[in-house]
Amino acid sequence: MLSANEIRKVVQERNQHQKGTGKKVVDVREEMERLEAAGEIVIHRIRPENRPVEVSTLFGWKKRIPTDRLWHHKSCGQCGNIPGYPSSLLWLMNETGRTYLNEPHQTSCTAWNYHGTATSNPVALAAVAARNFHRAYETGHFPLIHCGTSYGDYKEMRKLLVENATVRAKVRDVLGKMGRELVLPEEIVHYSEWVHVMAPEILARQKHTVEGIVATVHEPCHYYKMVPEDAVYDEAIYAGQRPAVPSGILMALGAKVADYSTWYDCCGFGFRHILSEREFSRSFANLRKIRPMVEEAHADVAITSDTGCVTTLDKSQWIGKAHGLPYMLPVLSDVQFAALAMGAHPYKIAQVHWHAASAEALMTKMGIDWKAAKAEFREYLQALKNGQAPELLHPAHGEIETYFAINKGQVLPDEAPAAPAGAGGRSR
């Protein structure tokens, strides 16, 4: 069911059927090269200072994952209600010595809204994507996409901008009115792909064993169903039959990744449903996902790699006890799980207290002294209440950045390929 062989077969059958339509699965990156040569676009290339690692996608095409000098494209849902998701990622980058920018000069992709309310259109979505792409480009940092929907949407928009000259012209015109150019990144990179290729470095810093932990993986739909050919697969993971992320990092850390019958189902987020029709979201999440994970796989934790999936699978469970489904299976992102295994503070960094299903039993099993950490965090909260400055993973932004997307000393990559990170970069 939706194995890589099955997907490849479906795509091949489509190509048979679509001989007359001209709609084929093609590597959009090749067309980007032609468009750049014609002066239509600028490609934001991955450079040696991005320290890329090569992986394979569905058809065996190669994809380069940059691991350094990154521009964080945050997720509105993660930052809004599960902030331990991005803070764990920033912490992992600090620990592994990677540089980055985490700026206020980014909008969301706006695709949550589009898929929920349809109050947008493809030209607007493409222009939003291109604005963010250009901002990353002018800072000399490569975009790293936190959200699965942003990742899927940006791949759709990149394809649209490459294939449709009319949309391209409209977007270029809109960008021109704000002094920006049409720049497309060489690769659209999801943070879970960064975690995947960073596995050796994460493993080298692992502090807590996870060998006794049974994890079930929920594969985010917008990671591998929107633009299937760009998802990362690895012969060593499920024999290449399912996406390699986020299972790869769990296996590398030593967790047992257990199968369950509805692994290919969505989580029930539904975009519109999670805000205004949660009867559906919580029914689907509990009945089609959490129950099989617990009853079939006897999971200790559910791991996923997208905003809506963590939200829906986790926060839908509390009400389950009213319907005889009292599971409360902890749900974490891959990067929170990896950070905990590396010794991150469960509350200050992984921020597990924003989750509805408690992670305390899981942390006990991992050998984490969460009681001491929780007491320390309570004291920290009181200190903040009394006016203490908060602990930060990177320098705070100045007041000028409340208003302006300033240059901060960066220069465009083509002018100085080896430019160092600017003042907004990371620090401990």
């Binding site: 939706l2 489509r14 059927h17 339509t21 709609k23 849902g77 930052c79 809004g80 209600n81 803070s87 920033l90 206020p104 980014q106 909008t107 969301s108 706006t110 898929h115 929920g116 309310t117 349809a118 947008s120 259109n121 607007a124 939003v128 901002r135 409209k170 809109v174 009115k177 704000m178 002094g179 920006r180 739909c221 169903k225 929107m226 299937p228 029930g268 539904g270 975009f271 449903h273 805000l275 205004s276 926060k315 839908s316 509390w318 200050k348 921020q351 924003w354 408690s358 909260l381 903040l384 209440k385 908060p390 602990e391 990177h394 000028i400 409340t402 208003y403 302006f404 997307a405 240059n407």
Partner: protein, 278 residues
Amino acid sequence: MTIVAHLPQRALTLTEEESAAPPAMELTGRRRASPEERALSETIFREFHADPRYHEFVLGCLNCGECTTGCPAARFYDFSPREMLQIAETGDATTLWDALQEKIWACCQCYTCNMRCRFGNDIAGIISVMRELSVSHGVASTRKTLAPFGRSLTLLMTVGTQVSSDMIQPDFFRDWGPFATGSDRAWGVGADIMRRAIPSDVLQTTRSSWEVSVQTSLELFRIYEETGVLDMLRGLDPDLTEMLIDIIEERREEFEEARERFRTELEGMRGPVATFRG
């Protein structure tokens, strides 16, 4: 046979009187479209078939049902992606009108149907186009369906993020329980302190998912103005649209004042920060 014999007798064709004033409800229990609604539905269908995406997304149907088999919404709603695809192909305004009332809003946009379709139909995309047209024509059922989204649309249009932590209030998310909303019930401090405990200054706001600079939000609004999104939103909620324009006007004034205040720092900078004027 016995049961059929006891059913009320009903003529198979409408009388002249019935044709002139058809029953308000169809046998399915759904309300019949008025002549005005039917005319609107026909207009929407014409625009749907004229949309360049129609020919890219609708490629035929084998009637195999693979799309519906894997559909999460089909398990809980009177909804089927196969039906949506076939409505798109038929050109029948009556069935389209029926679908616009509720069914198009059942879809989860998970793309499972797309992934399973041998013909390569983009069914999730077809439904999105139907939704877009329903919004831009201000279909009454759509205004009702999207009524709860005023707050998130305001955020999205003015700062470009979908949610803020102060939207996730325990009163509105009771089903999430007491611990998942940054509530002071769990930790003895307010939501603002819970946000300050996140180790990134950009994330410490309660009013948005992250702090968005004024220039960034004005650039986004320029995109909405230039690409027809603002006009589309007017069809859905004219009052909200006017309010958004007022908010942005204030931000533009704030931006210009800041440009004066930070003139020295901005001198010598290149790129959009030097040229963008709101």
